[in-house]
Amino acid sequence: MGAELRIDGLCAGYGRVDVLRDVTLRVDAGEMVTLIGSNGAGKSTLLKAVAGLLRPAAGTVTLGGVPITGMAPERIVRQRLALVPEGRMLFGPLTVDENLLIGAHSRPARDAGVAADLERVRMLFPMLAERGAQISATLSGGEQQMLAVGRALMSGPEVLLLDEPSLGLAPRVIAAIFEALDTLRSEGLSILLVEQDAHLALRHADRGYVMRNGAIALEGPADKLRDDEQVRHAYLGGRPETRE
């Protein structure tokens, strides 16, 4: 079910401000890759450019071999790439179920896979099944994040991008969300995870990239990056991993 995502020489920005400079990155089919880096390094910008919310100035993005560079977001999601955006961007006044149904909008109304995916999402986050009729803005932050992930899964993606899913959440909730991500990866979904919590991200991912000033500064297997002096110093608070 997973597909390969390749980003080659991507440049993008807002107006005249260049944010991304020649970014090359790949997520193999069924792999979980994390992109870490400090605030303002361009991580969110990269996800936006891949998902189509921002038009890249140069470079290419291919999904399972199909070029999707510069495509509109409503078409990219039909190519089976879904983004859980920064800040979640839920449809707050709508119910949990309505959010999930809208998540499946890119698929034909009679697609049998939609019902199956709804079941799957509710298995993954049982809370979503219990709170179906609740207005989503009234959910807690963690529940909202689960809904955001569930909504993205309703499009039946082969590649899932997540923008800081742990931000502002309690450790217990973060653990639940990352457990779900592990499950999805083990089912074969390709995942590109942007995180500010480098410890957490490198613990779950297969490989990692470190972004600095809009360019990739380092890359490697997650455990190697965890042990890397530079990474440890800059992003892991300069201490060996003690938290578990």
């Binding site: 999601v77 707050g92 006044p93 698929r107």
Partner: protein
Amino acid sequence: MEAAEFLQYVIAGLKSGSIYALVALGFTVVYGSTGIINFAQGEFFMLGGVLTVWFYGLGLPVPIAGLAAVATTAALGILFERFALRKQRSAGPLVLVIITIGGSMVMKSLARHLFGPDELSLPEFTPGPSIDIAGAAVERQALWVWGLTIVAVVVLWWLYRKTRLGRAMRACSISHDAARLMGIDTARIVMVSFGIAAALGALAGFAVTPLTQTSWDAGAAIGVKGFAAAILGGLGNPVASVVGGLVLGLLESLSVAFISSTYKDAISLAVLLIVLFARPQGLFGSARREKV
């Protein structure tokens, strides 16, 4: 004032209030999906009446003529969005609003050119004497106005609540970016919204023309009133727009009863200003949400 006389004023208020409600719904539907006020909304009302008269003149029976007028106006609304507004969407709301003002002038001038400068009239749908309700006389056409308003509101409710398109429209009214990430073609939703808004305006024009007559310049006044009703209800909520329309109609009618008919048309402007100053979120809105 006697009870029957009072009731007569209430009925008159609800009659014009229904028309305001339909026009207000048009404003609300477009505002919901675009965040802009469509100042051509009044012209859709005008086109509904004028085109019905024109189709009727071709020999079509009144209901068919009305249907044709509503359909034609909806198509014009869609074309207006597609060819006048869509390319400028990135230019920002102010530019779009000004284009709708320009569009309203063009529609008005074309209507005058094509259908003449005179008042146009239409027979009642079901001619006959007024019906007596507790001593107050209700014109048969008023029943049609109410009936059609109710049908339109129910259909709109069903569309928004029960259909895939309606869900997409509500998603769009919350965030275009989030909607696009879900695979919703927001450009198409905006276009459809203009079609629906035009149809609602045209339906109002069609329903009320037998009572009030119509002409090429009938759009401006009703536009202001529909806008006031939509603001009163707190733009963005269809149910509240309907209530806003009915309340405005009643206020106007009762002001004629208790103050003077001189001020009837000033009521909607007063309401508009008071609401905008004192309660910009409308009667039913909570805190004002940010449009993206």
